[in-house]
């Protein structure tokens, strides 16, 4: 009791003010939760109803139909094994890089750590197009992997590599290397040290990263749609086709339900692995745990990792840029000029260049929505920092994370069902796409803002209060400036997510208002080098835009938030 007192002092307030603070937290939590309710829970609920009560009566016949259809079973099976394979491949390739970042000092480490974010936030369509450049028939390696599962797996690794490296690397770097060194001194061979000491300590972060990779691969849409051809289809692609091509909404709903069940199961497992992670040993700061590579084996580890990263990321993206300038009539800006071309054969065709303006507009609106709701939610979760983590804040936190695991296609499909008819007909509203993007971006925004707010020492607020600042001025002079950096980073993230969002937008974009990813996809769908070149030019522009945004994020990233 004696020792605990200084902590309790800051945790205490009179009962009345505690109730007041709880009230305001509830008020702050309301807008984001209502938003999620209307634009996420309701559409998902509508999908459930559509699948389970197709014509106003409970009817599970469609489930039977789906599960007995061999082509559907193939889709289910492929989705499952493709995600497992992607996850395993990604973890195996990324673990050595996580070790390198966690343990060794080398030139350009900080820059590389930030640069890893780029593939993670690159639009799926851009990655798919750049993979086409590498593995397609005329591609670099001479073998046509297009339409094979390898193209998909490589693209998934490309995307999720950073998830594993950054999640595991961040945990790994906090582990005291002297634990490993003392095991060595006690006679353990390097492999034993890894198995007996290191692995048990990083295991839960590997599990966390792996479950995210599995989730992203399981709900992968743009990659599989573009690289999978006709033989490789995931649930997401099937849902899209059943809706958009065949208008079988019942079947699509059943598939969406199946996917939802798997996603929720994975999320629960993820939650458990996260909770286990929080009982970790004493953490060390990076400066204590990293050292320069001493032995030749260590130098080889660094070199081979850098090389594999260069191949994995540099080759596809480099090739994308190069090929976007390489027109049939030699080097030049031909493909870029073609973007302004309005000849497309149909009346609804608009010059692809318009998509840039659409994307920037939608991304701006989505960012504003996501930031306003995210700030409100983060404040509700953190409170004034005096109460620690209550059940209320954990619950709000979890509710806001759910969209992270749900596929964008589900969101788009749900919007299509729900907002197409009264009471809320938003089908023709320009807001529908930014709202969907905000739903997808919100978990990231909250994840960035919460640590920013938590990092404010409650004594700073007290000091300001003692110096005469009213509660409102405390918020304005202390909270806002300190959290401002996190806010800027969150804005960048939301913007990047919106720029690249494809799954939901595919359902919602009107023919005359495509976003950049949609325009790229449409160009791919038209035959000929000329259209493929346009897709590459547009992808290059989108990539550059995303890189600019990510650079901004990284400049403003609050210290101590290292995983995303």
């Amino acid at each position: 009791m004696v020792g605990a007192l200084p902590l309790m002092v800051s945790a205490s307030e009179s009962r009345g003010s505690k109730r007041r603070s709880a009230f305001w937290r509830l008020v702050a939590a309301t807008p984001p939760l209502v938003f999620l309710g209307v634009f996420f829970a309701w559409p998902v609920f509508a999908i459930l109803l559509r699948g389970l009560r197709p014509h106003g009566t409970w009817n599970f016949a469609v489930f039977g139909e789906v599960f007995s259809d061999p082509s559907m079973r193939r889709v289910l099976w492929f989705t499952l094994w493709e995600s497992i394979a992607s996850t395993v491949l990604c973890v195996v390739l990324a673990l050595p890089a996580a070790a390198m970042f966690a343990r060794y000092r080398f030139k350009g480490k900080r820059v590389l750590w930030s640069a890893l974010l780029v593939p993670f936030v690159l639009p799926t369509v851009v990655v798919a197009v750049s993979m086409l450049g590498v593995v397609g028939g005329g591609g670099l390696i001479g073998v046509d992997l297009n339409g094979t599962v390898w193209a998909i797996l490589i693209a998934h690794v490309f995307f999720n590599y950073a998830v594993v490296v950054r999640t595991v690397g961040a945990t790994w770097s906090t582990i005291d290397p002297r634990l490993e060194e003392s095991a060595r001194a006690l006679g353990a061979a390097p492999r034993r040290v890894f198995v007996d000491i290191t692995w048990p300590l990083i295991r839960s972060s590997v599990a966390a990263a792996a479950s995210i990779v599995f989730l992203f691969s399981f709900t992968s849409f743009g990659i599989v749609l573009i690289l999978g051809g006709i033989s490789h289809r995931t649930l997401e692609v099937e849902i899209y086709d059943q809706t958009a091509k065949f208008l079988h909404l019942d079947i699509a709903a059943v598939l969406a339900i199946v996917q939802l069940v798997v996603v929720v199961a994975i999320l629960m497992w993820f939650g458990r692995s996260q909770r286990r992670r929080s009982v970790l040993l004493e953490q060390r700061s990076t400066s204590e745990t990293e050292r320069s590579a001493g032995t030749s084996a260590q130098r080889w580890l660094i070199r081979s990792n850098l090389l594999s990263m260069a191949v994995l990321f540099g080759v596809p993206l480099g090739l994308l840029v190069v090929r976007s300038f390489s027109t049939p009539s030699g080097w030049g800006l031909g493909f870029y000029q073609a973007l302004t071309d309005s000849r497309g054969g149909s009346t609804s065709f608009v010059p692809p260049i318009d998509a840039i303006g659409n994307s920037l507009l939608f991304a701006s609106i989505a960012t504003v929505i996501a930031l306003a709701l995210g700030l409100s939610a983060a404040w509700a979760i953190v409170g004034d920092g005096s109460m620690g983590s209550s059940r209320f804040s954990r619950w709000t936190d979890t509710a806001l994370m759910i969209p992270l695991g749900t596929s964008a296609v589900t969101v788009g499909f749900g919007f299509l069902i729900v907002f197409d008819e009264p009471p809320l007909n938003l089908r023709s509203s320009l807001l529908l796409i930014p709202i969907a993007h905000a739903i997808v971006a919100l978990p990231f925004v909250v994840r960035l803002l919460v640590p920013g707010l938590r990092s404010i020492d409650p004594r700073l607020r007290e000091a300001a209060s003692i110096l005469g600042a009213s509660p409102r001025r405390v918020w304005w002079t202390i909270d806002v400036p300190i959290v401002g950096r996190a806010l800027a980073a969150a804005a960048g993230f939301a913007f990047a997510v919106s720029l690249g969002e494809f799954g939901a937008t595919a359902f919602l974009a009107r023919p005359d208002r495509p976003t950049m990813p949609i325009a790229i996809y449409r160009a791919l769908g038209r035959p000929g080098d000329y259209n493929f070149g346009q897709a590459m030019a547009m992808s290059t522009i989108l990539m550059v835009l995303t890189v600019v945004v990510v650079t901004v994020i990284d400049r403003f990233r609050p210290a101590g938030v290292s995983e995303f």
């Binding site: 945790a11 205490s12 307030e13 009962r15 004594r459 700073l460 110096l467 001025r473």
Partner: protein, 241 residues
């Protein structure tokens, strides 16, 4: 007492998540210009006492009267009391000058007067010319001085110091304590100074209050306290055998 500048009147504090009282029926007066040191081991309620006087902690019973005005229900930001925190709590996003002028800004002092006052106070604590420095670039002793400057800049009626030397090494601490004695003399402020270090208490204080488990066990001048400790606990705190 009529001459009391600050009057702590039967003050109790109970934390909502604890059954024991952090402060139990504490009463004492501080005269204008008087320096009271509050001595006690950790967990004795010293910090709680300062927080109750400053308004960061609401009291469950009793009254706090400052200069004839009952401020028990006044919110912290309207009390006009200076409090210097144990770990200083300097605003990391503001430079030295902006930290020091924060209270002046809150008091809506015009800008030219503000910078004049900041320069004056920084000079007083021996940090003239440090205004544009980043907080992160300061040494421990410099931070301590900035915190002190920030606290006295708005000319508070009463100065509360919560283990201000807590994180400093011995040599620096001795020097700063004698500087602080000097400064307090010059300002003529009433001071409540919380510490667990008896030498600091003896050097600074007109009277010393000893807290134990939330109760005031003795309040006397250093000489009387040294000669006649009320309990064995007090004697132990003073280093007697």
């Amino acid at each position: 007492m009529d001459s009391a500048f600050l009057s702590i009147d039967h003050v109790s504090v109970r934390h909502s998540n604890s059954t024991a009282e952090a402060l139990c029926d504490v009463s004492f007066d501080v005269a204008a210009g008087e320096v009271i040191a509050v001595l006690g081991s950790s967990g004795s309620g010293k910090t709680t006492l300062l927080r109750a006087i400053s308004g960061l902690q609401s009291v469950s019973a009793g009254n706090v009267v400052l200069d004839g005005v009952d401020i028990t229900k006044t919110p912290a930001h309207l009390r006009g009391i200076g409090l210097m925190f144990q770990e200083h709590a300097l605003f990391p996003h503001l430079d030295v000058a902006d930290n020091v002028s924060f209270g002046l800004r809150m008091a809506k002092m015009p800008k030219p007067d503000r910078s004049e006052r900041v320069a004056e106070v920084l000079e007083l604590v021996g940090l003239a010319g440090f205004g544009s420095r980043d907080i992160a670039s300061l040494s421990g002793g410099e931070r301590q001085r900035v915190a002190l400057a920030r606290t006295i800049a708005p000319s508070p009626l009463l100065l509360l110091l919560d283990e201000p030397m807590g994180s400093l090494d011995r040599v620096l601490r001795d020097r700063l304590v004698s500087e602080l004695v000097d400064l307090i003399d010059r300002l003529g402020l009433a001071v409540v100074y919380v510490t667990h270090d008896r030498s600091e208490a003896f050097e600074l204080a007109d009277r010393i209050a000893v807290l134990d488990h939330g109760q005031l066990v003795q309040l006397d001048t250093p000489a009387i306290l040294d000669a006649h400790p009320a309990t064995t606990h007090v004697a132990q705190l003073l280093g007697h055998r």
